[in-house]
Structure formats: structure tokens, C-alpha cells
């Protein structure tokens, strides 16, 4: 219950006497006089919400709710598929405590926001470097929206209107791209690798957009796809997994035009899917078609280096309906986490994370493949990073249920083409597993042992 002798709430300092004084300075004799524009019949409706609660009560309830969740930090987990449990160094959390970063607004007054701006510039520098691309923007909402906006950007750049997405990409990417282009003069379509490699690409294709490592963790033939796209006058748009780039060649090395990723693996906790940050990079020459904020280096009147938002004429607050995107509030603070992560990991750390993930995933894949009744979704020989599909002897949802009983979070149940007949089944018979440096050998062995019991 609020107080009416003191200030109403710890977040609201005006005491009753101050309130009176302020109203009278304003020249009204009651608060109601300030809201007469609100239609009288609708003024002061009942608000059926709980009453205010003390911090102790709120914290107690929130802790109880948090405790209802089975968190992936205190048990082995093999879920990936777009959100990844990687190591987060202590520096990230420490920097994230700085109120000056957390409680500032978008840096519209650059002189009073150099902290945000310079760290954002570090973010752009690190992302461009990891991707091997010319430029990176200051971040998008998340990976899938970055990918969707990449498709739209490709359409603007190419002045063509068909976004072709390779069918090995995560379906979520396709869905979001579809939602982002639904009423624009752009279509989103699926294409298979054979069509791409055979040059079977329509001549109004804006881009060939693909994911590598793809949904099943496999490394695509980026060069071939990119070359095919270019041959058809389309852009090559790649969605990737930034940790993989610690080990695998980056999009820039293949001539990819626009590359995006989910930034979460770079120092951001899982938090049930958000808030994350989308990474967005491109070739220099497409710069002025980039969506989102961009931070540039400049100098002040005394010639000292400083940073500022730049190329703002692309953005909604200047260009309005002709902006390159409607994005305004974005994900600066998550970008800061990525910047601190990259600074902490450095080249050797990022490489090591990639290699650990790779080797552990392959260790586990080999072990599962050796289990009777279980097999890898692909034959051997395909190159994958740290995710792989597995064919299960029973319904994979049931597999997960049994693993949950052992305190293990399994993989993602997926539908694999049936062995017989080739027609798709309704019941998920496959599982997409993900392994990172956070999975100890012991956890992996435990999982494999558990699967071996399920298999028999």
C-alpha cells in the first residue's frame, strides 16, 4: 500500500506537501485539473493489479519463480540451435555493473556519451574483424532480424526482389525473413543447394542467403554458393555462428557481401532467448544501405579524437518512411558485452573456444555413432562444427523426457526424413545436439551412456 503521509513510494520522491506546492505553482488546485483532456467517462478506471509490494516480498517471489526453472548452468545441457551456452569471462559481468553504461540513453549527445560510443566502436571493430568484413554496424535486435534485414538490404542494393534462402538454414530464419518482408515488394523463397550450384538461380534474385554452419551444424561450401550468387548477379548473404569463425574462414574471405549472426554466443547468457544482439556486416560499398546505428570516429573542435553516431540520414528519425530500417532502440548494452568478451578472449581465446567446441562435439558424435540403434544424420565425411543431427531409435521427444529424468537437458528434437520411403514423418525421430567448451568429458560420457540405455 502506498503512503499518503510520506512520499508515495521509494521510486517517487514527491511528498504530499511538495505535491501541493508544485500543483499550486502550476496554478491548479488539484491533480485532476491537469487531466481534463481525458474524456471524463474514461478517467480513473479501476486498475485490477496487485497493490504495491515491498522489495523483500518482490525479491522473495522472483527467487521462487526463478527456482521453478531448470537452468542449463547447473546441469549438463546439449541444446543449441541458435542460442549457445559458451563460457562468459568474469570481465563481462564486471563491466556490465557500471551504471553509466546501463542507465544512459542512445548517444544522441555524443559529448556526453563517449563511453557508449567508444565501446560501440570497439564492438564494430571486433565484429568486422571476426567476420573479415569491411564494416559492421552497432548491432541489430538479434540474429534472425539481422538476417531478415540483410535480405531486405540485398533487395535494395540489387534492386531485385526475390530473397532466396538455402533450405539448410534454420527455419526460424526463414520465418522472420518472411515476417520482415511480407508487405514489401519482396518475396522470400527457399532454394536447394543443387539449384544454386547448377546456376539455377532466377535473374531477379536479390541474393542467395544461407547459413553456415547450417542448421545441422555443417559447414556449407561458402565459396561455391557465393560464386554462384555473383554469377547470377545476386548478392551472397551469409548467416554464421561467430564462435565458428575462431577456427573457420570468415565470410569476408569468400567475398560474401553481407554477413550476419546471432551475437549471443560472444559473452551473453542464454536468458531464455533474449535480450541478444544481431551482428551485421557488409562490404564497404554497401555502407549507406546498412540498417541500424553506426558509430564513426571523428574529432572535436580541439582536434581530439571522439566518436559519434554517423550516417544518420539512413535512419528513421531523419529519413522517416524512407529509412533503411525502422530500428531505433537497439541492443547497445548487449553489444558492450560482446565488446568486453572479444577484448578478453583475444585471438587465442576465441580460437581455443572454437577448437574445444569442435573437438568435444566430434568426440560425442563419434561416441553416439558407435551406439547400436543410433547414428549420425549424415554419413561421415561432412564437415560440421559443434552441432550435428542424430537419428534416434525412438521418438526424440521421449528421449529428452528420459534424459530430463537423469538431470540432463538433451538436444533439440527434429524431424529427419524417414529411412523408408523418404516421406517426412510427423513424429520427431532426430535430435540436434550441440556441444561447447562448457560440456565436460564427464557430462558427455554421461549423456552417451544414458543414450545407450535408451537405445536398448
Amino acid at each position: 500500500m502506498l503512503s499518503n503521509v510520506a512520499s508515495p513510494h521509494p521510486f517517487i520522491p514527491n511528498t504530499p506537501s511538495e505535491r501541493e506546492l508544485m500543483l499550486s505553482t502550476t496554478g491548479v488546485d488539484s491533480f485532476d485539473a491537469l487531466i481534463t483532456d481525458i474524456p471524463e467517462q474514461h478517467r480513473n478506471p479501476p486498475l485490477r493489479l496487485p497493490d504495491s509490494a515491498s522489495e523483500l516480498e518482490v525479491a522473495t517471489r522472483m527467487q521462487a519463480l526463478a527456482a521453478l526453472n531448470q537452468d542449463a548452468a547447473s546441469r549438463p545441457s546439449f541444446l543449441g540451435a541458435g542460442a549457445y551456452r559458451h563460457f562468459i569471462p568474469s570481465t563481462v559481468g564486471a563491466v556490465l555493473q557500471r551504471g553509466e553504461f546501463v542507465t544512459s540513453y542512445t548517444p544522441y549527445q555524443p559529448e556526453a556519451a563517449q563511453g557508449t560510443l567508444q565501446t560501440g566502436f570497439e564492438f564494430q571493430s571486433a565484429v568486422a574483424q571476426i567476420f573479415g568484413m569491411d564494416v559492421a554496424n552497432a548491432g541489430m535486435y538479434d540474429g534472425p532480424t539481422a538476417f531478415a534485414e540483410a535480405g531486405l538490404m540485398a533487395a535494395r542494393v540489387s534492386r531485385r526482389n526475390r530473397i532466396l534462402i538455402l533450405d539448410t538454414a534454420d527455419e526460424r530464419l526463414l520465418e522472420v525473413a518472411d515476417a520482415y518482408s511480407r508487405y514489401q515488394q519482396v518475396t522470400v523463397e527457399s532454394i536447394d543447394i543443387d539449384s544454386v550450384l547448377n546456376g539455377d538461380i532466377p535473374d531477379d534474385a536479390a541474393c542467395i542467403a544461407f547459413q553456415s554452419p547450417n542448421f545441422l551444424g555443417r559447414i556449407e561450401d561458402v565459396q561455391a554458393i557465393t560464386d554462384a550468387a555473383h554469377a547470377a548477379g545476386a548478392l551472397s548473404v551469409m548467416h554464421t555462428y561467430p564462435i565458428a569463425l575462431g577456427m573457420f574462414k570468415p565470410p569476408g574471405a569468400y567475398g560474401v557481401d553481407i554477413a550476419t549472426a546471432e551475437g549471443q554466443p560472444l559473452g551473453v547468457p542464454l536468458t531464455f532467448g533474449g535480450a541478444y544482439v544481431g551482428l551485421f556486416t557488409s562490404k564497404q560499398r554497401f555502407l549507406r544501405q546498412l540498417p541500424g546505428r553506426i558509430i564513426g570516429k571523428t574529432s572535436d573542435t580541439l582536434g581530439r579524437t571522439g566518436y559519434t553516431l554517423t550516417l544518420q540520414t539512413r535512419e528513421q528519425h531523419i529519413r522517416r518512411e524512407r529509412a533503411t530500417s525502422n530500428i531505433c532502440t537497439s541492443t547497445q548494452l548487449i553489444g558492450l558485452m560482446v565488446a568486453v568478451y572479444c577484448a578478453t578472449m583475444g585471438p587465442s581465446g576465441l580460437r581455443k573456444v572454437a577448437e574445444l567446441s569442435y573437438h568435444k562435439a566430434h568426440y560425442m558424435a563419434d561416441a553416439i555413432d558407435a551406439l547400436p540403434g543410433w547414428s549420425l544424420a549424415d554419413g561421415k565425411g561432412e564437415t560440421f562444427f559443434n552441432e550435428f543431427g542424430v537419428r534416434c531409435p525412438i521418438d526424440s521427444i521421449e528421449v529428452n523426457r528420459q534424459l530430463a529424468e537423469l538431470g540432463i537437458i538433451g538436444g533439440l528434437p527434429i524431424v529427419l526424413p524417414s529411412d523408408v520411403g523418404g516421406n517426412e514423418r510427423e513424429v520427431p525421430n532426430g535430435m540436434l545436439f550441440c556441444v561447447t567448451e562448457m560440456n565436460s568429458r564427464e557430462d558427455i560420457d554421461r549423456l552417451v551412456y544414458a543414450l545407450s540405455m535408451i537405445g536398448t
Binding site: V28, A67, S77, V102, V176, H317
Partner: protein
């Protein structure tokens, strides 16, 4: 950390501003990773692999990382350190409890694709937040997926279009938008394939009803109204406006960026609004983070709920759930509404922000949320009343949660609003929003919020008066402000003309 050997002339610890890569020393490192505890597998074809020296990230010590970012943080103005009356942005106190709750392991370490069964606490947070936002706005269909206000707008417009499509009115391709609207409104409309037709604001700051009536027709898809408006005013003709649009067959979308002025005072749904969004990072005080992450849930009237973005959280006892294999013990589950506009982002929304907003709503409760709006309005009017002898008002009437001043008189004396804004920084006060809304010349949009005390407002008033005096006594100082910040005025033109967007070896 400064590499200068001349003393800091004005700021005690003006840090070295060089970038991390300029401090990088080959072989330094800030972290150690463990060695592999599994046998190594064969490495793929070399053609696929990155050269070992291709990845040029900073090589610095762990102390370097901490000191660098800590010092940079101090170059920011922020709520934790400054009064920040940035209009339309609702820069109010972000309770620390909210951050602490969001970082609880049970929230921070759950994977978005875990079974519903294993994340019931998270789903309960989302479910109840849906309920509460529905109650606060009077629009009971709530989708938490949108990741910021602009995405909420886009989701809302997709819903409008989908609903009209279903009615067979796909031809409705016009968004009517007042000239005072925020840039995201027309930008979102364009993304939703709508052409923007601008509606005028009248001399009182209200929607020009005649202009609206003239423009509302069979092609009208939506009217997007910011309420209260970006002038800080509640639209007195709201009912009539809604009727005009509805009669024309369109829908009314309320940009709820300013919802913090309305809590407990009026519900958008009661007014006939069909769709709105709320910026949780404004009204519900989740931190801005220097530009996000935010969250922009979309709220719709009952009839439109089936179009909400995927997913929503449903309570299994209250909904006739269609999901096939549901556990008895699964009380809350994620589901896709029947006619959903689909997924507009990867997972379920800005969950870490949703947790904060939910914590905030619990702390305040219904009574507290009303007190939020009351005091936000009182504070804005107090500033307006105290400054109106010196500064013109965009419109001369009581305001809601923010007041839009015009620096016309000051501009006439030679000092445009920009300089007043910059000069405020020298006094440790963040600038108001400048030159917005676009229809107000020399606009300075001041939103004090309810979390600032009268003493802080009084000091702001005194500083504004001092600056107004300085315009006569010492105009140069105002024109070249700021003088006491880490940088003097930055050359934005060159930044845009010759963009340098990442570290370069020759940097500095």
C-alpha cells in the same frame, strides 16, 4: 592509463582514449582457457580453416580490460549520475532490484528451446506480465515478442494488415500519421507496405480533425496516434478521432511510448484504440543501456488476439489448448496464436527485459503505477510553469508527462536551441530532446519523470535561467559549449563524409 606526460589540465583522470588495438601487445592475454579433456579429432580441410594470424583482436591483460572499460564508462552521462530530462525517452530511475532479479541463475541460464515443463517460472513471469499489460492498457491481447518499440509498431501494423486481409480488405494501404509523430511510425508503416499520409496538428497541438476526416477513407489501413502526443498533450478529441477512423473502416494504432503518463488515469482500450505497443524501457523503467536492449510488447483488443506474433504464453486451465502432447504438470506453455503474423525474431522476446518490467510492476502495483503517472505529470507541469516566462511553450496549456519548450526567443537573440542543450551538459544535466517534434521550431522537449525530486527540478529551472542570462552576457560560452566534457563539440559532418567505422592500424 593516459599515455600523456602532460598533466590533465581540466579533468582529474581524463583517460587515454586510444583504442584497445592500439594497446595490444602480441602475446598478452586476458583469459586462459582449459585444454581439451577429450581426444582431439581430425581437423577439417585446411582450405576451410582460418589462418592463425588472420584474427586481429586485442591482446591485452585482464587488468587492461577492466581499467579500459571502467574509465570509458565514466565518460557517459547516465541516470545513475545525472538528471537526464530527455523528452520522449522517459529516463527515470531504473531500480537495481530489477537488474538483480534478471540475473538470477534460474532466469539468466535457461535456454529458449527447453521444454515448457522445465521453465514454468519463466513462463509464469511472461504470462502474468501479459495479463498486467493487458489490464493497464485495456487491450487484453498481449504479445511480448517485440524487441523494442519500433518492432512493436511493426508487429501491430502486421496485425492490422492481417486482420484487414482476412476481412478481404488487403487494398487498404495507407497509414495516416500526424506530423508530430516519431520517425519510427512512418518507417514501420513503410516496412508494412503502407504509404504514409501526414495529418496536420492544429494550433492547440491537437490532431486537426478536419484534416483527418478529409484523409480517412476506404484506403485507410491505420491511423497511428502517439498518446499522449510528442507535444506532451492528451488528445481531447480522441473519441471522435477513433470514430472517424473506425467509420472509414480503418484501425487505430496508439504509439504507447508515452504510456507512463496514463497508468491508472485512462485505458487505451476504453477509448476505442485497437492496437498499441508499450516501450518497457520507458514506462516500466527497464534500463536503456546506451541504446537498448528494450522490449516493445504489442497489445490488441480481444478480436485481434489471434493475430499476435508467435509465441504467446497460455495458461492451460484457461485456454482450450490445441497442443498435442502436453504434460499434466505443465501449467503454462508457449503457443502460436491461430492466425499469428508469425515469428518476428528468434525466440520469445527480450526475456531479461521482461523480467525487469515484471519486477517493476510488482514493486509499484496498481496504486503505485497510478502514482507514477500522477507525479510524472505534476513534475512536468511544475517545470513548465516555472520556465514559461523565459521560454516559449510549444502550446500554452497544461501538459502531461513532458513539456515542449521552444527556444525561439533565444534563437532570435542569436543562440539556437542546440547550444542551450549543449550548455546544459556543462552543468551536469543531460540535454532535453532537441528539434523534436519536428513541427515545433527550436524544440526542447523536457521530460523530468516522477523519480526526480523537486530539488532537482528547481536546480534545472535555475540552470535554464542562468543559461538564458548567459545568452546575453556571454553568448560565446553558450555557442561553444560544452567546455567541461571529455570532448568539445564533435565534427559530425566529417564523420559522415569520410566514415571511419572500425579500428585502423594507423589510428590516432
Amino acid at each position: 592509463m593516459s599515455n600523456s606526460v602532460t598533466p590533465n589540465s581540466s579533468v582529474a583522470d581524463m583517460p587515454d582514449r586510444s583504442l584497445l588495438m592500439d594497446r595490444s601487445v602480441s602475446g598478452r592475454r586476458a583469459i586462459e582457457m582449459p585444454d581439451a579433456d577429450v581426444p582431439l579429432s581430425e581437423i577439417p580441410d585446411g582450405a576451410l580453416l582460418r589462418e592463425s594470424d588472420d584474427l586481429r583482436l586485442p591482446e591485452v591483460s585482464q587488468l587492461d580490460v577492466i581499467r579500459y572499460f571502467t574509465l570509458l564508462s565514466r565518460l557517459n552521462f547516465s541516470i545513475d549520475t545525472n538528471f537526464y530530462p530527455l523528452g520522449s525517452c522517459t529516463m527515470k530511475y531504473n531500480p537495481k532490484l530489477n537488474d538483480q532479479m534478471a540475473s538470477l541463475g534460474g532466469f539468466a541460464n535457461i535456454h529458449p528451446l527447453q521444454d515448457d515443463q522445465s521453465v514454468q517460472g519463466a513462463l509464469e513471469v511472461m504470462f502474468e506480465l501479459q495479463q498486467w499489460l493487458g489490464e493497464a492498457t485495456g487491450l487484453p491481447g498481449v504479445g511480448l515478442a517485440p524487441l523494442a518499440g519500433a518492432q512493436g509498431e511493426y508487429a501491430g501494423l502486421l496485425i492490422a494488415r492481417a486482420a484487414l486481409d482476412m476481412r478481404g480488405e488487403s487494398h487498404r494501404n495507407v497509414a495516416l500519421i500526424p506530423d508530430s509523430a516519431h520517425g519510427t511510425n512512418p518507417a514501420s508503416a513503410a516496412m508494412a507496405g503502407l504509404s504514409v499520409v501526414t495529418v496536420k496538428t492544429d494550433e492547440f497541438g491537437n490532431v486537426d480533425v478536419d484534416d483527418l476526416r478529409a484523409k480517412a477513407d476506404e484506403n485507410t489501413c491505420v491511423f497511428m496516434l502517439t498518446i499522449p502526443s510528442t507535444l506532451g498533450l492528451f488528445e481531447p478529441n480522441i473519441i471522435e478521432i477513433n470514430n472517424i477512423i473506425h467509420e472509414a473502416g480503418g484501425l487505430v494504432y496508439a504509439d504507447g511510448a508515452n504510456l507512463n503518463a496514463l497508468l491508472g488515469l485512462v485505458k487505451l482500450g476504453d477509448l476505442g484504440i485497437d492496437i498499441c505497443h508499450s516501450n518497457l524501457h520507458k514506462t516500466f523503467s527497464t534500463p536503456h543501456g546506451g541504446g537498448g536492449p528494450g522490449a516493445g510488447p504489442v497489445m490488441v483488443k480481444e478480436e485481434l488476439a489471434s493475430f499476435l506474433p508467435d509465441p504467446v504464453v497460455s495458461h492451460n486451465s484457461t485456454t482450450s489448448s490445441s497442443s498435442e502432447t502436453k504434460d499434466r504438470s505443465t501449467k503454462f506453455s508457449l503457443s502460436r496464436p491461430e492466425n499469428s503474423i508469425g515469428k518476428i525474431n528468434g525466440f520469445h522476446g527480450s526475456f531479461s527485459i521482461l523480467v525487469r518490467a515484471y519486477t517493476y510492476m510488482q514493486s509499484l502495483g496498481g496504486d503505485g503505477l497510478r502514482a507514477v503517472s500522477e507525479n510524472a505529470i505534476i513534475n512536468a507541469n511544475y517545470i513548465q510553469a516555472r520556465l514559461q516566462d523565459r521560454f516559449d511553450l510549444a502550446v500554452d496549456r497544461v501538459c502531461m508527462h513532458e513539456t515542449v519548450l521552444s527556444g525561439k526567443r533565444q534563437a532570435d537573440r542569436g543562440v539556437p536551441a542546440l547550444n542551450i542543450a549543449k550548455r546544459l551538459l556543462d552543468y551536469g544535466i543531460h540535454a532535453p530532446t532537441m528539434y523534436f517534434p519536428l513541427i515545433v521550431p527550436e524544440a526542447l522537449m523536457v521530460e523530468p519523470t516522477e523519480t526526480e525530486s523537486k530539488e532537482t527540478l528547481d536546480r534545472f529551472v535555475a540552470v535554464m535561467q542562468t543559461i538564458d542570462d548567459e545568452i546575453d552576457s556571454d553568448p560565446d560560452t553558450v555557442m561553444h559549449a560544452p567546455h567541461t566534457l571529455p570532448n568539445t563539440r564533435l565534427d559530425e559532418a566529417t564523420a559522415a563524409r569520410r566514415p571511419v567505422l572500425k579500428w585502423q592500424p594507423s589510428s590516432d
